[in-house]
């Protein structure tokens, strides 16, 4: 039991609407929208949280109210016409069924969006300015357009009410149109909307006044805003407090949803969506300070990953509701587990930012460790028992093998897990050695705890051979033996060490190090940071157009910040072609991929990251005698049908079925390994 749980579980009533507890999920954009509507996938994703006991779930981050604020960029919701109302109705009924509340965020993005999408309309803002993040130059709004957008907000609010939603908030955070008007940084107007703070606040007041008139005083309307833009020339904390006081004292908003920072460029964006390099709840003082000045309830999100932190924030009176948005992506059943006394079963968000990073590169939000999130139509969050208990062997105690063992054990099978090393976690244990990436270790820690709790026979320091597996006469064998790093094919590659060698301490380079990256992931960037912190002079060379090209926008800036600070030399668009010794040093030859110009570096060590190659000896040793020749029926797996050789009930006498998952198939990432395991094993 966590401290202050009772504070978290205490209902909150705002204007007659009771939220069953103080835990919520803020509006965000998981990219699950379809045709601008929250359809089945979107609804199921939120329904899972409602089932899991959440008090309030808010959807539709940046749902647009106007046609010149396109919903397309993140597959978001458009509330700009009435066609969304039936979807809202279905959605709210679905959520209310479980006792939770549902709200949406409404906004006009202003300049913070794209013109080359949906209706191809120019982006609009208070003034002709350019936002670094969106790289769009805005058209300044004319009075008629302002009036039209105000009317759009009011019409959208009405649609929320008609759709049965419990309320809505407007976004005046992260540089949307309302706060573009607030901020002297983006508002250079000289009319009644520009100049003094009073004038700059006018547009938002008009928006909220119109919304209030449309939906009445009893409908919940809130506002998301920053508590301090932490930006030279932006809104100071004092400005934000003044805005909060003005808006609440006019009775325009029923709650404030306060964040810290803004999102005008890459690093600002990464800071306002803090990843695992930040402490928990880094911006809690901001909502706390605003709460002191206003008399409406205060909501807050930003890296509140554990219930104890959330409970403290509420119990100490910093906020009235604590938003654990990413924490719910990792485990939508958070509150249920708390109230069932199963807090230890909560899969805690590690702050990898995988969910949010994906949407900025056009993907859908997926959790690095919970493969069921966002896939509720096909992937269960609670694993059903199998009709018959089987004997299963999982080889490899990395995250894929652990997830396989967990799911098979939840299915009711008798599971034995072999791990060659003395510790569960596999490659994550290596990655977690790199400075702030340590928090990744939370992923195998939870899995190992579950596996132990489910009674899986975990055999550490035991390499599984054919004999050991045969001795258990299994029905199912899952090979999750992972991969091992490769040193690439450059001439003289034998002189290189891998990022693994460095992180695991087998190699301890000093002096000048050339670190060559062909993956573009966290591995090379974080290893460069480790080496630089040890005093090495590091040059990070990559084949890609930039450092850490595969790392998403809430993580990559943090890597870059650290590498710049440490003086790491960053050389993109270059390929490592040869390594050879000269004296007691090495010469590394690199070629610019654009110009073909070759250069040499005299270094003390060459470290490379080419990803992994599968460890598949065991798989091929077992393949011939397996019923399915070691092949997963992909059609059956995708359709969620049992694997063909599982259905015949022949059991162990007829031999075993053999499956291969994760990096043992091909080197990918944590989510891929866990998803491989879940989607296969849930039907075994």
């Amino acid at each position: 039991m966590i401290a202050n749980a009772e504070a978290l579980l205490k209902p909150l009533t705002i204007k007659g609407v009771t939220f069953r507890n103080r835990v919520m999920s803020t509006s965000h954009a998981p990219s699950y929208g379809k045709d601008g509507k929250p359809q089945q996938r979107y609804q199921l994703y939120h329904e899972e949280k409602a089932k899991g006991g959440i008090g309030l779930t808010m959807f539709g981050g940046s749902s647009s109210v106007s046609v010149d604020s396109p919903a397309a960029p993140w597959n978001q919701i458009s509330v700009a016409d009435d066609s969304v109302v039936p979807f809202f109705r279905e959605f709210s009924e679905r959520i209310h069924r479980h006792g939770a509340r549902l709200m949406v965020q409404l906004t006009h993005m202003g300049r913070r969006t794209k013109w080359d999408t949906e209706h191809w309309l120019p982006v609009k803002s208070a003034s002709v300015t350019r936002e670094p993040a969106s790289r769009a130059i805005a058209k300044a709004l004319e009075q008629e357009e302002i009036d039209r957008i105000v009317a759009d907000f009011s019409a959208a609010a009405k649609r929320c009410r008609e759709g049965g939603l419990d309320g809505c908030e407007i976004s005046a955070a992260h540089g949307h149109l309302v706060d573009q008007f607030w901020s002297p940084n983006s508002n250079h107007r000289t009319d009644k909307y520009g100049g003094s703070l009073e004038n700059r606040m006018r547009f938002g007041i008009e928006v909220l006044t119109a919304m209030r008139e449309a939906v009445g005083d009893d409908y919940l309307i809130g506002m998301r805003m920053s508590g301090d833009e932490m930006l030279k020339g932006g809104l100071s904390h004092e400005d934000c407090v003044a805005i909060a006081v003005e808006y609440t004292s006019r009775g325009l908003v029923d709650f404030l949803n306060v964040v810290g920072g803004q999102a005008r460029d890459h690093i600002a964006h990464a800071i306002c969506l803090p990843n695992m390099s930040f402490p928990v709840a880094p911006f809690l003082p901001l909502p706390s300070a605003i709460k002191r000045e206003v008399d409406v309830p205060i909501f807050h999100a930003q890296r509140v990953t554990d219930l104890a932190t959330g409970a403290r924030a509420v119990a100490e009176g910093h906020v009235d509701m604590i938003a654990m948005t990413r924490a719910h992506i990792a485990d939508p059943h958070l509150v249920k587990k708390l109230s069932e006394g199963r807090a230890d079963d909560i899969r805690q968000c590690v702050g990898a930012g995988y969910c949010i990073d994906r949407i900025y590169v056009g993907g859908d939000a997926l959790c690095i460790q919970n493969a069921a999130t966002g896939r509720e139509a096909t992937m269960p969050h609670v694993i059903a028992k199998a009709s018959a208990a089987k004997t299963a062997v999982v080889v490899g105690g990395g995250v894929g093998g652990l997830e396989a063992a967990r799911v098979l054990a939840e299915r009711g099978h008798k599971v034995t897990l072999f791990e060659k090393s003395g510790r569960l976690g596999g490659q994550v244990n290596v990655a977690a050695k790199a400075t702030w990436r340590e928090a990744l270790s939370g992923i195998p820690r939870w899995l190992a705890g579950q596996v132990q709790k489910l009674g899986v026979d975990v055999r550490l320091n035991t390499e599984a051979g054919e004999a050991e597996i045969a001795a258990l006469s299994p029905d199912i064998v899952v090979v999750a033996t992972g991969g091992l790093p490769q040193r690439g094919e450059a001439k003289g590659f034998e002189h290189a060490v891998t990022t693994w060698d460095v992180l695991e301490g087998r190699s301890d380079p000093s002096g000048t190090v050339l670190l060559y990256d062909e993956i573009g992931g966290h591995n090379a960037a974080s290893t460069a940071e480790v080496l630089a912190k040890k005093g090495c002079l590091v040059e990070l060379v990559t084949h890609d157009r930039m450092i850490g090209e595969e790392i998403g926008p809430t993580n990559q800036p943090v890597h870059l910040r650290e590498l710049y600070k440490l003086g790491v030399l960053m050389t993109p668009n270059s390929e490592l072609i040869e390594i050879y010794p000269e004296g007691n040093r090495l010469i590394a030859a690199i070629r610019n991929t654009m110009t073909d110009a070759e250069e040499e570096r005299v270094v003390d060590a060459v470290v490379v990251d080419y990803g992994t190659v599968p460890v598949d000896d065991l798989h091929f040793a077992l393949k011939e005698r397996s019923k399915n020749k070691g092949l997963t029926d992909l059609q059956a797996m995708i359709a969620g049908r049992p694997q063909p050789f599982e259905a015949n009930g022949a059991g162990a006498a007829a031999g075993y079925t053999l499956y291969r998952i994760g990096d043992a198939v091909a080197g990918r990432n944590i989510h891929a390994a866990i998803y491989d395991a879940l989607r296969l094993c849930k039907d075994l």
Partner: protein, 643 residues
């Protein structure tokens, strides 16, 4: 004159000696407080109370009933026959002496069986000392009487021997009669008198009487300080004790090494009343006995540094009534303990330090943890939980109790609420109007707070129209059903297991089978022993298709979880914890689930650490079965709060 001719006179002498002795005891009893006794009804009911009610309890220990029936029967028959022998014509009959001999022989056989319980080694729960010597005296009396009567029946062939046997019988018989006030044989007359003048006549003939009597808060002295503060028939009851130790064997506090033995306590109370006549106690000492004084006397404080009993003994009791249930002499141990606690709490404020806070909270906030009453329904936000103040009336008032403030208890209540929705029950809660039921305050001796809480609850209930009160808390059930009537509130109160069993029987709930799992049911004391409800929860578990395994101690003879009577608040240390012992008993059944039906039991048993079966309230199992049966969707639809 033959020796046998003196036997009737010996009987007369024994009766006279015993009468004088008992007379001294009667004087002592009269020093107790007044008690209303219906003598005629008591006397009329005596044979039945003895032969049916007492025998029913005695017979649970077969070796005891086999021993006692011939011993007591033989003794009474022999003495009765011998009194007839005062008529010379009868005394002349050899057949008559043959009958007397037969009676004595019967008695001797019984004494032999009794001796077998004590020699070569006595059962551990039995007292030694005079009790160990009792079969010797009885045996000599019986065999002496038998030989004397037999010789008379045979025509007195050996007159010298018959005088010898007579003198042996006389010596033993007079010795027994001479200690009739202080020795083991006191139980005979005190026991019979106790049955006639029992303080709880309603408990006989299949009845149940487990409510505590209200205390007159205007009395000069509140509760019992000295033996004289007990009603005279209570003092009589203490004297009836046969120190058989069945109470001690059943006592959970004794088992856990806390300094309580009901047997020892009753012996102490009897000894305290007798003052200087106290004899050393020859049973097992209180476990981890605390040092006490030895001051005894009808008007000496029992619980005091100089007194006979240490306060820790008093506060170790869980009020589980296992001792009362087991006592063949129908002694009411728990009543005595509560009376003593009342004085400690109300007159001295001498409650255990850890119990001060809950009592303070109950006095100030009407709730033992100081939570706001309006928070009682917080847990149900998001569920539909109608307040009776809003609905106006309801068929059933759901009494939430203390569980509503506790995360674990809330799970049970949520399951119950969902189940009620699934069955379409018209129910509502009191909301803020519900105060603590007062059980804890009353068991901790704070009668004033109990009466205040009860009055407030009765007043709140009187404001609304409803038919029944439903609760998942057997403690609330007990006080509202059995103890509120004395304060003016009479209600039809039903426990959730009985209510759900009704719904299942009526076909209003269709639980799916939870087959393949073994469950053992732990009877809550306040449901089973206090209220006799042992069938409904079992019927429910059976209806769920669970494999039910019984613990050795179950039903009305179940063992306490340690959670009653304010014992967790008092927290008197022992060698181990009561719930650990109980959980071990559950484990031996091999069941993976311990089904419970009380929030206290749930909390106590879930507090057991290490590998153990899962603790699930019956309501949770019912809801799980309903969910499995697809009733969940219906319930959710009904739960939907009006927008």
């Amino acid at each position: 004159m033959t020796a046998a001719a003196f036997l009737p006179w010996l009987t007369v002498a024994m009766v006279l000696v015993a009468a004088v002795q008992i007379g001294r005891r009667v004087i002592l009893w009269r020093g107790g407080g007044p008690a209303a006794v219906d003598w005629r009804a008591g006397l009329t009911a005596l044979p039945r109370r003895y032969l049916v009610d007492v025998h029913h309890v005695v017979d649970r220990d077969r070796s005891a009933s086999r021993m006692h029936v011939p011993t007591a029967g033989g003794l009474v028959l022999a003495c009765g026959l011998l009194v007839l022998g005062l008529v010379p014509a009868i005394a002349a009959s050899r057949l008559y002496f043959a009958l007397v001999a037969l009676a004595f022989l019967t008695m001797a056989a019984g004494v032999f069986l009794e001796a077998r319980r004590r020699y070569p080694r006595a059962l551990p729960r039995l007292s030694l000392g005079r009790w160990q010597r009792l079969p010797v005296y009885l045996g000599v009396f019986a065999l002496g009487g038998f030989a004397t009567a037999l010789l008379a029946a045979l025509g007195n062939p050996l007159p010298a021997l018959s005088f010898l046997t007579f003198f042996a019988a006389a010596a033993a018989g007079l010795a027994l009669a001479g200690t009739a006030a202080t020795g083991p044989m006191r139980h005979a007359l005190a026991g019979a008198a106790h049955l006639v003048a029992h303080p709880r006549p309603a408990r006989f003939e299949g009845g149940r009487s487990t409510d505590l009597a209200p205390l007159d808060l205007d009395a000069a002295k509140l509760g019992a300080e000295t033996p004289a503060d007990f009603g005279w028939n209570r003092l009589l009851g203490f004297d009836a004790c046969v120190q058989c130790g069945r109470c001690e064997a059943a006592c959970p506090a004794f088992a856990a090494g806390q300094p309580l033995s009901p047997k020892h306590l009753v012996a102490d109370l009897a000894a305290a009343a007798g003052g200087g006549h106290a004899r050393p106690y020859a049973g097992m000492p209180y476990p981890n006995q605390r040092p006490t004084g030895g001051a005894a006397g009808l008007h000496a404080a029992v619980i005091s540094p100089e007194g006979l009993v240490h306060p820790d003994t008093l506060w170790s009791c869980t009020t589980c009534r296992a001792c009362v249930e087991e006592c063949p002499m129908m002694i009411e141990h728990v009543d005595a303990i509560v009376d003593l606690r009342r004085f400690q709490t109300l007159e001295l404020g001498a409650v255990p330090s850890k119990a001060e806070e809950p009592l303070e909270n109950l006095r100030g906030c009407d709730e033992p943890n100081g939570r706001r009453l309006s928070e009682r329904t917080d847990f149900a936000a998001g569920l539909s939980l109608p307040r009776i103040a809003e609905t106006g009336e309801a068929d059933v008032v759901l009494w939430l109790g203390q569980a509503a403030f506790d995360l674990r208890g809330q799970r049970t209540l949520k399951a119950l609420i969902r189940t009620l929705h699934a069955a379409g029950v018209d129910f509502a809660v009191l909301g803020e109007e519900e105060r603590d039921c007062g059980d804890l305050a009353r068991r901790l001796g704070d009668e004033a707070t109990f009466q205040r809480l009860a009055a407030a609850n009765i007043e709140a209930l009187s404001r609304h129209r409803f038919r029944r009160i439903l609760t998942a808390d057997p403690h609330a059930l007990h006080v509202i059903r059995n103890e509120y009537p004395a304060l003016g509130g009479s209600y039809d109160v039903v426990h959730h297991t009985a209510f759900l069993a009704e719904l299942v029987a009526a076909g209003r709930l269709a639980p799916a089978a939870l087959a393949g799992r073994a469950v053992t049911y732990h009877d809550p004391c306040y449901l089973g022993r206090y209220n006799g409800e042992v069938e409904a929860p079992r019927a429910l578990l059976d209806a769920l298709g669970l494999e039910r395994r019984e613990m050795a101690r179950s039903g009305k003879r179940s063992m306490c979880c340690g959670g009653g009577g304010g014992a967790p608040s008092a927290d008197i240390p022992g060698d181990t914890r009561i719930p650990d012992i109980r959980m071990d008993q559950a484990k031996t059944t091999g069941a993976r689930i311990v089904a419970v039906a009380c929030p206290q039991c749930t909390a106590m048993l879930e507090g057991v650490t290490g590998e153990r079966p899962e603790v699930r309230d019956v309501a949770e199992l019912v809801w799980e079965a309903l969910e499995a049966g697809g009733a969940a969707a219906t319930a959710r639809a009904k739960e939907l709060e009006p927008a």
